[in-house]
């Protein structure tokens, strides 16, 4: 579809396996997909399908794999500065206050104190946490911690944001609020977002392209285009629900559900 130059992420024939007790366990097998620049993409699949592994490959942190992975047209490296990764538990350092956690990436890059202050203040205001800047992560709620993680990533002005199950540990209301907030941030900045989720609803609400992965080892089951992401009230439309049903059927085949249910009554 899009020309090569407009792709932010291109993965071709990616296979990953890791060593466990001298046995090679495949995590991903022959995975291929691409993500156009400035779009969002959701990776969804059962637990243990290698979703997080895929994210680690894209971030450059995992180096032993085979295949081809291009980020912004260049082979992936861990030192790509415009890639930001937000891990499941947000990766906040317990010994740094919110302000210092958000400033960490800038610290590492050796930015001046004034520049740092301006940037941190801007992103903390964006996620509504400037008032909380003097708190430690342990003094924040789950949602606030997640927003701090997002702010830390945004402070680096990334063009590729990788998120591993960003909202999975939050309550339903906070989750919806943060999903909307993420969309707003994306619509404003138009960076590329790749997020891993196990929630079908989240994948449809946030992913313009949804990549369905099968269980161990992870393989691409299907790729679904979802162009209405970001439209007001999308969650309430019939199309949204139709897509939910469609994805559920693909990810959870009917017969498995029945046999599982029958098993419970025996």
């Amino acid at each position: 579809m899009s020309a090569n130059g407009e792709l932010m992420v291109r993965v071709r024939g990616l296979s990953v396996s890791y060593q466990q007790q001298n046995k090679e366990i495949p995590a991903l097998r022959d995975v291929s997909f691409s993500v156009p620049k400035g779009s969002t993409c959701a990776l969804i699949g059962p637990s243990g399908c290698g979703k997080s592994t895929l994210l680690y490959v894209l971030s450059g942190l995992l180096r032993s794999w085979s295949g081809e992975v291009l980020v912004d047209g260049a082979p992936v490296t861990s030192c790509r500065r415009q890639t930001a990764l937000i891990l499941q538990d947000y990766g906040l350092l317990p010994w740094k206050k919110v302000y210092d956690n958000v400033a960490l990436g800038l610290d590492i890059r050796g930015e001046s104190r004034e520049k740092k202050y301006i940037k941190v203040k801007r992103v903390l205001n964006e996620v509504g946490l400037w008032e909380m800047r003097q708190r430690y992560p342990s003094q924040l709620s789950g949602g606030q911690r997640q927003r701090t993680g997002i702010a830390r990533a945004l402070a680096l002005e990334p063009d590729l944001l990788l998120m591993d199950e960003p909202f999975s540990s939050l309550d339903a209301l906070t989750r919806e609020k943060l999903q909307r907030q993420l969309l707003e941030i994306w619509q404003e900045k138009r960076m590329t977002v790749v997020l891993v989720t196990h929630s079908i609803e989240e994948a449809i609400f946030l992913g313009q392209r949804i990549i369905l992965l099968s269980g161990s080892p992870g393989r691409v089951l299907d790729i679904v285009e979802n162009p209405r992401v970001g439209e007001a009230g999308y969650r309430k439309t019939a199309e949204f629900h139709a897509l939910t049903t469609k994805l559920r059927e693909k990810l959870v085949p009917e017969r498995v559900e029945i046999s599982g249910g029958a098993g419970r009554w025996k």
């Binding site: 680690y56 971030s59 942190l61 861990s78 030192c79 500065r81 890639t83 930001a84 990764l85 937000i86 891990l87 499941q88 538990d89 947000y90 990766g91 350092l93 317990p94 010994w95 740094k96 960490l104 990436g105 610290d107 590492i108 890059r109 708190r135 430690y136 342990s138 003094q139 830390r152 680096l156």
Partner: protein, 252 residues
């Protein structure tokens, strides 16, 4: 208001436990009824009298030896522990050596150290350092190894190099363990100090204590015991406050 109340309660508890200790001591000395175990009153009287005499000097010498030993151990053990905990290759090389030396009672090297370094401070400080070094090294190494890999990875993803990981993740992660292990090691350090000061020594609390014992002046011997306990107590308290000051995130 509430803060004040808590301070009062804490003062009350301290008073209570000190009274309990002194009372127990008094009862024990009455029960034993032997000049070798004087009651708290004669012992404390001797302590304050002796403090004005030579005891203060011995106290300072011993404090100096212990504190210097703790500082040297810390400076050596913390970087070693952090590197061993984080760099698998280094650990594989050094760990067997550590495990062979760790269980050896280092105290037996005192004669060797005295021959090599003389009977002054150097041999004593080296002996204490030898003991304390391992007591700090091993917990630091384990703490550094146990750091959540996601924490390291998320900082790496911000573009951190090895130096940044040590500075922003490993060092603060092991800091509470540094202070805790130091607090525990301070007790051992004083025990080793006592031992080293009792052998061909002319100053220090160990010498003072042994000298009083050989002269059978038991109240003075107990003045030395009180001084030694005080030394341990001061170091312990300082380290505890240091932890509160250095690791504020643990107390929020």
């Amino acid at each position: 208001m509430e803060m004040n109340g808590r301070k009062w309660a804490s003062a009350l508890y301290v008073t209570f436990s000190v009274t309990f200790l002194l009372l127990g001591w008094e009862l024990l000395s009455l029960a034993v009824n032997n000049p070798a175990l004087p009651g708290p009153l004669p012992a404390l009287t001797a302590f304050f009298r002796e403090l004005a005499g030579g005891l203060w000097g011995h106290f300072l010498v011993s404090s100096y030896r212990v504190v210097i030993s703790l500082v040297i151990s810390l400076v050596l053990a913390v970087p070693c522990g952090m590197v061993m905990g984080r760099e698998e290759k280094v650990d594989r090389l050094v760990a067997p050596l550590i495990y062979i030396i760790y269980p050896v009672p280092k105290i037996v090297f005192l004669p060797v150290l005295m021959v090599l370094l003389g009977i002054q401070d150097a041999s004593k400080i080296t002996l204490i350092t030898l003991v304390v070094f391992f007591q700090i090294l091993v917990p630091i190494r384990d703490a550094a190894r146990g750091i959540n890999p996601d924490l390291v990875n998320s900082v790496k993803s911000l573009g951190a190099r090895r130096r940044d990981i040590y500075l922003h993740v490993v060092w603060p992660a092991v800091l509470p363990e540094v202070l805790t292990s130091l607090r525990i090691a301070s007790g051992t350090a004083i025990a080793v100090l006592f031992f080293s000061e009792t052998i061909s020594s002319q100053e220090g609390l160990g010498y003072y204590l042994l000298d009083a014992w050989s002269r059978a002046v038991y109240t003075e011997m107990f003045a030395g015991i009180i001084a030694m306990s005080l030394l341990g107590f001061i170091i312990y308290t300082v380290l505890e406050h240091l932890e509160r000051w250095a690791c504020p995130w643990k107390y929020v």
